[in-house]
């Protein structure tokens, strides 16, 4: 029984919570906070329950539900979870839980916790649903569902240029995703028998039902949808704006989960269903990924706004993830999944810290902060340093294993790619990617130097800035611990993912 309803309950609980929150009377808006907290705690507990009941020895989907939904078009309510979904699914609940704790500490102007938290919970349903949907139409619905709450989060609670950023975010993603929908429909009508089921389509893809030309065209459509979401260079321009303007919680969820929906889509849909299309596009993706790494790092060096800097660092980190995916090998895909989780934890954490710094300094400009964070808020400075160093990929912390493994995988990409004569390209890209890690280290260390060290300007010393509060400790401690443990024990993620990645990617013969 639990097996049949677990995922459905867990995914739609936040939606129910959002509904309950809207019933809170306007005069008692603060009551929304505890409700959201309880809902997200229960949600996280249910997600952990799913994790606990997961059979580690089995491969393939668990907790499956597969019932008809829209018969007219053959769409089904097919949900389930496997090793590839599990880390991101659980992470989304963890981050939402932590965000609802953080909401007690701070919600940006104009406050209105009721609307804000209802949107956050709605967002949670969309995010979690994306990772457990195994029907293309269901996937698409969840995928689009996240747009609306995030649009309002950025547009209402964001920074000075919020309206521009919100619309840009929405339109960019919509543009890509509608092309993706057309590609999904093309897949449906080309498959034999017609189906939207991802697993059945992947089997057909392996069996060679789709012609090479069709695969390339369909891959292009799906690529547009996912690449914009990741975002890959040159589709990234919405990201710095959205991230910079979004409220802290919005940034955390955007960086922590929403970006991963794109890379997850590549791993789950684009590659297994369209192997030949993937093979044709992989070198292109790899080149774009490395451009993103270098370009992201160079942009970071040029930023004067702390939050914008972190946003651009996401472009680079997602470049590593995409490089791992573009190798089409199990090592690379595992690296990518690890990279997604690590980036979610670390960058989510970075946005929390930057948000809290902004909350106290009322500015995000590095020059205005003027250094000396260690003097004004020693604990905040220490946490910031720790997370920044994890983000630059120091071995022993969470940022390292994913990026290292991605570079390692690029040394020996899938057999098909080697046969096609791309080995040299990948090795060159590996070297360039490694240069990118140096640049990454460079901008993070320089940022540390400008923000943390040095002598604090007198006005900040006099301002009596409060150091890390209890609520902030409560929000951040789990992420800090994860940053450490994922670095020391990368098997925590790889132990979950490897079996299913191997099964899914046998098609590339790598």
């Amino acid at each position: 029984m639990w097996q049949d309803v677990a995922i459905t309950i867990t995914v739609f609980l936040p939606l129910l919570g959002a509904g309950i929150i809207t019933l809170v009377p306007k005069s008692r808006e603060e009551a929304a906070k505890p409700i959201a907290l309880v809902v997200s705690i229960v949600g996280f507990a249910l997600a952990l329950g799913i994790l606990a009941g997961y059979d580690w020895d089995a491969r393939g989907l668990q907790y499956t539900v597969d019932v008809p939904w829209i018969n007219a078009i053959g769409a089904r309510y097919h949900v389930g979870i496997d090793g590839i979904s599990m880390p991101l699914f659980t992470l989304s609940y963890l981050l939402t839980f932590l965000c609802s704790v953080y909401a007690f500490h701070h919600i940006e102007e104009p406050g209105k916790p009721k609307a804000f938290l209802a949107l956050m919970l709605l967002l949670q349903t969309g995010m979690a649903g994306t990772f457990i949907a195994f029907d293309l139409i269901l996937f698409f619905v969840f995928w689009e569902l996240v747009l609306v709450p995030m649009y309002f989060m950025i547009g209402v609670w964001g920074g000075p240029r919020r309206e521009y950023a919100a619309v840009k975010f929405f339109l960019y993603t919509l543009f890509g995703s509608v092309f993706m929908l057309v590609a999904f429909l093309a897949l449906y009508f080309t498959s034999e028998p017609n189906t939207f089921d991802m697993l059945a389509l992947a089997q057909q893809g392996e069996a060679g039902v789709f012609t090479a030309t069709f695969q390339r065209l369909a891959f292009l459509g799906i690529f547009l949808g996912f690449a914009i979401k990741v975002p890959m260079w040159p589709f990234h321009t919405w990201l710095p704006d959205a991230h910079t303007e979004a409220p802290t919680i919005g940034s955390v969820l955007l960086a922590g989960i929403l970006l991963k929906m794109g890379t997850y889509g590549f791993v789950r849909i684009a590659l297994p269903i369209l192997p030949e299309g993937a093979m044709a596009f992989a070198p292109v993706i790899a080149v774009l990924a490395v451009i993103a790494i270098i370009y992201g790092a160079l942009c970071c060096l040029a930023q004067t706004d702390l939050k914008r800097l972190i946003a651009f660092s996401s472009v680079g980190h997602m470049g590593f993830v995409m490089l791992g995916i573009a190798t089409l090998t199990p090592v690379g895909i595992n690296a990518a999944i690890f990279g997604m989780v690590a980036h979610g934890v670390i960058t989510g954490m970075l946005f929390f810290v930057v948000g809290s710094v902004k909350d106290r300094y009322h500015t995000r400009a590095i020059a205005d902060i003027g250094g000396g964070l260690f003097q004004t808020m020693p604990r905040m400075g220490a946490i910031f340093t720790f997370v920044a160093i994890a983000s630059l990929g120091l071995p022993g912390l969470a940022g390292f294993p994913g990026e290292f493994a991605a570079l390692l995988a690029a040394f020996q990409p899938a057999a098909g790619l080697v046969e096609a004569g791309h080995l040299t390209l990948y090795r060159v890209l590996m070297v360039l990617g490694a240069v990118g890690t140096v640049l990454t280290a460079g901008y993070f260390l320089w940022m540390m130097q400008r923000v943390n060290m040095g002598v604090a300007p007198q006005r900040w010393k006099d301002a009596g800035l409060a150091d890390v509060s209890v609520i902030e400790w409560g929000t951040w401690l789990p992420l800090l611990l994860m940053t450490f443990f994922l670095g020391v024990l990368p098997g925590l993620v790889w132990g979950i993912t490897t079996a299913d990645v191997d099964a899914l990617y046998s098609v590339f013969g790598g």
């Binding site: 007219a72 619905v141 919509l174 543009f175």
Partner: protein, 494 residues
């Protein structure tokens, strides 16, 4: 072979007769009510529409296909679906009108008579299986519209809109009739199925092709397709808002019903000729509609151009039709039907909110909506839902409407149909920009005046009901996709 033209089936005609009776009662009774009680004609009309609906439901329960006047008037699943749809629309238009027409102090009896007459034409339209009947139905819808558009006679813009509507309407009807007469000349029949038989093999006759273009032009005016849309924004802006809702949904749907019957039944053998033309018109219509809507500051004009764009999406399936391919054609047919249903829900919903806000802000500017989220959160939430639905965001009904258009286009599977699908994609994004800009104004701008909007019971009910439908169908589209079965009747063709 000619069936008996004098044979009557009273049961089949009962809905139309009931509505006709109601229209006459409303007209005759109103002068005797006295000024204070003229508002009672609205409930009378509502009761009449409900009674008509009962007849339609009885016919649906009965389930047999009926015909009268020979094969001219047919009641089948397709016709019944449209009748239910039109009567539902009629109910909502009446609910929108209740308070509005009390407040602008116009001739209520005449107005409701005109509305009901137009809806009578709409009931006839899907049953018409003969060019003459199609023409009568179309005129019965159009002519009351000319007058209704001018009911705000104290406003110059209303006069201008009605005048434009009338002149262009009459011109296009002349062109349509001319086309129909040529078709009759070639085929010797006005029966739609008979025309299809007669037209087969006439692909190379230039006059036949020209006549089809005339017919398309005639309908193009009714559905406000580019380049026959010029009347729409001015007329919509000048009309009383309930009339605008009527023109942009019901009257347009009637045009589509007629176009469906003529194109999918009578002209089906020559689809190779007209389908590409309509495909190109579809792309032009949606693109021009959206790009112009982007620049509107008047909310009614904005929705006017948005409805032009939506007409473009609805014409796309016509561009997919190919002679003799029942599979492709029936999917295209379904797509138009479902789009019409979905579009009416969200567009009437949007106009209901516009009507509500216009009571407080007669200027009808988009800036009037600033801070509506704070003033009337319920109203703002509903309008946001309708806007997002018009834009095609899940889980709302508008997504599925577009979805079926995409499905039909991808299933047809030629380069041209993919081009049409891509055009819809690009246009959805452009459209989203101005839908979002209204949403942004409502939620993110500070209100100019703090007081909440009070729409009144009828409007509140309409708005809430339509919002619930938009959401419920969005989550479980199966209910709505089931209507597609009704379409196979005609799409299978003669």
């Amino acid at each position: 072979m000619d069936p008996d033209v004098t044979a009557f089936d009273w049961f089949a005609l009962a809905p139309e007769l009931t509505l006709l009776a109601t229209a006459l009662i409303v007209l005759v009774v109103e002068p005797f009510l006295g000024p204070a009680r003229t508002k009672w004609v609205n409930p009378v009309a509502v009761v009449g529409v409900l009674a008509t609906l009962v007849w339609v439901v009885l016919l649906a329960v009965d389930g047999t296909d009926r015909s009268s006047f020979g094969e001219m008037f047919v009641v089948d699943a397709y016709a019944l679906l449209f009748k239910v749809f039109f009567l539902g629309t009629a109910l909502f238009v009446l609910l929108l009108s209740y308070r509005y027409f009390q407040e602008i102090r116009t001739y209520q009896g005449e107005y409701y008579f005109l509305v009901l007459s137009a809806f009578l034409g709409m009931l006839l339209m899907p049953s018409a299986r003969d060019l003459v009947m199609v023409f009568i139905a179309l005129e019965l819808v159009s002519v009351p519209g000319f007058v209704m558009a001018g009911l705000r006679k104290f406003d110059l813009r209303s006069n201008e809109g009605a005048m434009k509507f009338f002149l262009i309407g009459v011109l296009s009807v002349a062109v349509l009739l001319f086309g129909l007469s040529i078709v009759y000349g070639y085929t010797g029949t006005t029966n739609l199925a008979g025309i299809a038989e007669g037209l087969a093999g006439l692909e190379d006759e230039p006059l036949v092709l020209a006549s089809m273009l005339f017919v398309i032009v005639g309908f193009g005016f009714k559905i406000s397709a580019v380049p026959f849309h010029f009347w729409a924004p001015d007329t919509y802006e000048g009309s009383p808002i309930p009339v605008t809702a009527f023109l942009s949904v019901a009257s347009k749907a009637a045009g589509f019903a007629g176009l469906l019957q003529v194109c999918f039944v009578a002209f089906e053998p020559l689809a190779d000729v007209w389908a590409p033309v309509l495909g190109v018109i579809a792309v032009l219509t949606m693109t021009l509609g959206n790009l112009t809507a982007l620049q509107q500051r008047n909310i009614v004009r904005l929705f006017a151009f948005s409805s032009v764009a939506h007409a473009g999406y609805m014409i796309v399936p016509f561009g997919l039709v190919r002679p003799g391919e029942a599979d492709v054609n029936s999917q295209a047919f379904t797509a138009v039907l479902l789009y019409l249903l979905a579009y009416s829900v969200m567009n009437i919903g949007a106009f209901a909110v516009v009507t509500a806000v216009a009571r407080r802000h007669p200027g009808r500017q988009t800036s009037d909506y600033a801070g509506l989220g704070q003033r009337s959160p319920g109203l703002a939430t509903a309008l946001t839902m309708f806007l997002l639905s018009l834009g095609g965001v899940p889980p709302l009904v508008g997504l599925w409407a577009k979805f079926f258009v995409f499905t039909a286009a991808v299933n047809a599977g030629t380069a041209f149909t993919y081009f049409l699908a891509a055009a819809v994609v690009v246009n959805s994004v452009i459209a989203m920009f101005y839908y979002l800009s209204i949403a942004r104004t409502m939620w993110m701008d500070a209100p100019a005046v703090p007081d909440p909007i009070r729409p009144g019971l009828a409007l509140n009910f309409t708005i809430a009901a339509l919002a619930v439908v938009a959401l419920a169908v969005g989550i479980y589209p199966e209910a709505f996709a089931g209507f597609a079965d009704a379409s196979t009747l005609i799409a299978a063709g003669p």
